[in-house]
């Protein structure tokens, strides 16, 4: 594989890892997991925090 493939591949993997991390984080910190999929985070983020 060419160096270009290696570099782009590693960068892409890093981006995907960051995305997975942010989804997991949103699930843990948010309203029972919906933040990761909810399209109105600010509305419901804190709703389940206290439960």
């Amino acid at each position: 594989m060419s160096p270009g493939t290696w570099i782009v591949g590693i960068v892409l993997l890093a981006i995907l890892a960051l995305v997975v991390r942010s989804l997991i984080k949103a699930r843990k910190s948010g309203c029972g997991g919906s933040c990761a999929g909810c399209a109105s985070e600010s509305y419901c983020r804190d709703i389940r925090k206290k439960e």
């Binding site: 997975v20 309203c31 999929g37 509305y43």
Partner: protein
């Protein structure tokens, strides 16, 4: 030292607006009740030691609704250092009812009279000095929407909290009640019989005292009112309980009324007297405000609903078909397409050149065809000699595709056409390459392997770009919805819908989650918790996702563009299909034992109409729209990568390898497994089956799947262009207009995405009910699409046995709608 201040007030009094203003947060603001269903926390922008708690709006501290329970539990248990009580200056009498209760809590309170701009505009005046003196606590003017007075109010609350200033209690009650309250206070303050009480009233244990001293007055009033929750929380011993009961009964006998009514009545008498002294209302002609006059038309019994339909029709038409499509044109065709001319310079000349080039190609084609049919060989060396006298006819098509004449193509014209070259956009003006083209070029220069290049351009840019391409339409839609919300119209819609919903046993309160759900179903479903009646709440949760959320807009735009040439009626239809599904489901479900019951009363305050605030409108639009951009970068990106692998790899000759033909891919294999389910609905190809199934991950995925399968670069989605949606051939090939409409209906009505199903699970608090809700949505969507598609084919191509099933389903549906309601008179069917 950190201080916590609570924001308390009536629904729709402007608490969240003040909260956002003071904390810099962007909590969702809506001018209908129930927008804040849980308390929210934020830190003051100008004083980081102060935490602000935004509490749900309540009319009183009685424990009748979820919002009231949350608010009063927090105030008595959480012990904020101070309270900012927001009072709507336009409805001061009713708002002060809560104020009198809050003052009894003994927590330092500043009363902020909001909407002072409106009060002043009406010519009314408020004497803040008199109000402050009478209530024994600072009363200050505020205009939360404009930000006037917000910081002063917050600073005053902090000052009160720091000083723990002892307030002078207002004289709300008359002698007999005061006498009774004094006895009750005494009964719960002192130990009897040497018993040591360890009660957890307000979360604080006091030996000998059942409640914290500062809350004493509030607990006394609640005990006088026989508030069951307070009685239970204090765990009174028999002797104390009997003593309190005796005191209350004595007072009831004297005043000849029940305890709760006595308290309510005396509070209102006190407020009336106070307002009479401190508030001057300018006399109005016929006592009608401008809002009242507008409401005479807008909420009119006969005109209200048609007006609502016209407004929503216009909103969806403009958002998806006109302005939205114009902006999406640039995004899909330019940013995520081949490219665009900077500031449009050179665009017209280029388009003209493209048109000339296309004409030249058509002339070539027509001439060659004519030559072939005349027995000439276009490949022959002396072809031009042979075709000297040949004249071909090129059909001239109108914009709608109909032939409106023809052009004679001579040899000279053919030779000219042969010389024409495909125009290069950069020769016509400042040309900016689209993202896929630029990235592809860059990856090629970097020597990146073909598979990785394809993964990035077709998979990621294709999938994510397909969704992002529709974001402008979402922004336009959210912009108009935000204006409707901000001027106060959407609150009226709940009132208008109440009349319709009431016919099948739901109230306008059920429409509020649906209003919120037009952005995203998740908060819409969560907002249903403000509905007290459990059956109505369940039904609302089940039907909220029928209203198309923002993520369904790309599906609507895709079908409207690909199959209906951007027809004006498709997008508004999508919304009204949702509303109709809610109403039909309401009628059907309310006639079942599970959902039968009397209609809950619906009381809501209609806010005064006002000009939209740019800050609110743009804030709301950005908040909702940006979430979709974020989702495109997270969930959609992940799904696109997985989809690309599945569509690019297949098992050939017994081993996993990249496949050229998508039909041999793993995705095609999986899609073909589920395709038979959708065949009776008209879209049984593996591609559309995969798209529909992926819609459960996120509804935008339906569009994203097509983006990944056909790649943005190949022109699958850069269709919203001057050629009027004509370049969507790869997607359009999967559908006829009828099956496309069926596809749209199914995807609009079927179960929502996993995030929304999760929200249903939590709000239902039952796996059984969640399964029922999801099952109902799926069956409803399937039946609706089945009937539409099969009856459509009956009209188009004649009868076949499957049409009998469609008729049976249609009659079944009509029976469920029109059958007699056996539970119409039932008051309480489900315990």
């Amino acid at each position: 030292m950190s201080v916590t201040i609570a924001l308390v007030g009536n629904p729709n009094s402007g608490k969240t607006t003040l909260f956002n203003d003071l904390t810099g947060a962007r909590q969702y603001v809506g001018n209908w009740p129930g927008v804040t269903v849980e308390r929210k926390e934020g830190v003051l922008k100008h004083n980081k030691h102060v935490t602000l708690q935004d509490l749900p709006g309540v009319y009183s501290l009685s424990p009748y609704t979820e919002e009231e329970v949350i608010t009063r539990d927090y105030l008595t248990g959480g012990s904020p250092a101070a309270i900012i009580n927001i009072v709507d200056g336009c409805n001061i009498e009713r708002n002060l009812y809560l104020t009198t209760q809050l003052l009894e809590l003994g927590i330092p309170t500043v009363v902020a009279v909001n909407m002072m701009d409106v009060v002043q505009k009406c010519g009314d005046t408020i004497d803040f000095g008199k109000l402050s003196d009478a209530l024994g606590t600072p009363v200050m003017p505020l205009s939360a929407l404009k930000g006037d007075g917000a910081i002063a109010v917050a600073d005053m609350a902090v000052e009160l909290a720091d000083k723990k200033r002892k307030r002078k209690d207002p004289h709300v009650f008359t002698g007999a009640v005061e006498h009774a309250l004094a006895h009750i206070e005494e009964a719960i303050t002192h130990r009897d019989n040497g018993d040591v009480h360890h009660h957890h009233a307000g979360g604080i244990v006091h030996e000998g005292t059942m409640v914290e001293p500062k809350n004493l007055r509030w607990f006394a009033v609640k005990l006088f009112e026989r508030d069951e929750k307070v009685i239970a929380s204090l765990k009174l011993d028999a002797k104390t309980a009997a003593r309190i009961d005796e005191v209350v009964k004595e007072c009831e006998a004297v005043l000849d009324d029940d305890a709760e009514s006595i308290i309510t009545d005396q509070r209102y008498r006190y407020i009336k007297e106070l307002v009479g002294k401190a508030v001057y209302k300018k006399p109005r002609k016929d006592n009608l405000t401008t809002s009242d006059r507008i409401d005479r038309v807008v909420t009119n019994r006969w005109f209200g609903f048609p007006f609502f339909i016209a407004v929503m029709f216009l909103v969806y038409f403009i958002s998806v078909t006109t302005v939205g499509a114009f902006v999406t044109d640039w995004t899909n065709d330019g940013l995520f397409g081949d490219g665009f001319f900077f500031l449009g310079r050179g665009k017209d000349a280029f388009e003209e050149a493209v048109e000339d080039y296309e004409t030249a190609l058509e002339r070539q084609e027509a001439f060659i065809e004519e030559a072939k049919s005349s027995g000439l060989d276009p490949e022959a060396e002396d072809f031009l000699q042979q075709a000297k006298t040949l004249v071909a006819e090129r059909p001239l098509e109108a914009e709608d595709g109909t032939v409106e004449g023809s052009e004679r193509v001579t040899l000279a014209m053919y030779v000219d056409a042969l010389a024409s070259e495909e125009p290069e956009p950069s020769a016509f003006g400042p040309w900016v390459r689209g993202i896929p083209v630029a990235v592809e070029g860059w990856l090629e220069n970097a020597g990146v392997a073909t598979w990785l290049k394809q993964l990035i351009t077709d998979g990621i840019i294709g999938g994510v770009g397909a969704v992002l391409g529709f974001v402008p339409q979402m922004f336009v839609l959210f912009f108009f919805l935000a204006i409707l919300e901000d001027i106060g119209y959407m609150a009226r819609v709940a009132f208008i819908m109440d009349r319709i919903f009431r016919r099948f046993g739901l109230s306008g309160k059920s429409f509020i989650p649906m209003l919120i759900g037009s952005g995203c179903s998740v908060p819409g479903i969560m907002a249903s918790r403000t509905i007290e009646n459990v059956r109505d709440r369940r039904m609302t949760i089940m039907t909220t996702s029928f209203i198309p959320c923002g993520a369904k807009i790309p599906i609507v735009a895709l079908v409207a563009g690909a199959l209906f040439g951007g027809s004006w009626w498709v997008a508004p239809t999508a919304y009204f299909v949702g509303v109709a599904a809610v109403i039909i489901s309401g009628v059907i479900l309310k006639k079942t034992r599970m959902f039968a019951g009397s209609t809950a009363p619906f009381v809501m305050e209609l806010p005064a109409y006002h000009l939209p605030s740019p800050k609110n409108v743009l804030g709301s639009m950005w908040e909702r729209g940006f979430s979709f951009i974020k989702r495109a970068g997270t969930i959609i990106l992940q799904a696109s990568v997985v989809l690309w692998f599945l569509k690019s790899y297949g098992v050939l000759d017994g081993r996993l390898q990249m496949v050229e033909d998508m039909d041999l891919s793993i995705l095609a294999f999986l899609g073909n497994l589920i395709a038979p389910i959708f065949r009776p609905l008209g879209f049984g190809t593996w591609q559309s089956s995969v798209a529909t199934t992926m819609g459960f991950v996120a509804k935008e995925e339906v569009v994203s799947v097509f983006g990944v399968l056909y790649g943005v670069g190949e022109g699958a989605l850069d269709f919203v262009d001057a050629s009027n949606f004509s370049r969507l051939a790869p997607i359009a090939a999967h559908f006829t207009a009828l099956s496309g409409f069926s596809f749209l209906i199914f995807n609009l009505l079927c179960a929502p995405c996993f995030a929304a199903i999760g929200a249903i699970r939590r709000e239902m608090n039952s796996a059984k009910w969640t399964l029922f809700a999801v099952g109902y949505l799926m069956v409803f969507a399937y039946v609706a699409s089945f009937i539409i598609f099969q009856l459509g084919t009956l009209i188009q191509s004649g009868f076949s046995p499957i049409h009998l099933v469609a008729f049976a389903l249609l009659f079944g549906l009509l029976f469920l709608i029109f059958r007699k309601n056996r539970y119409a008179t039932s008051k309480e069917v489900v315990k």
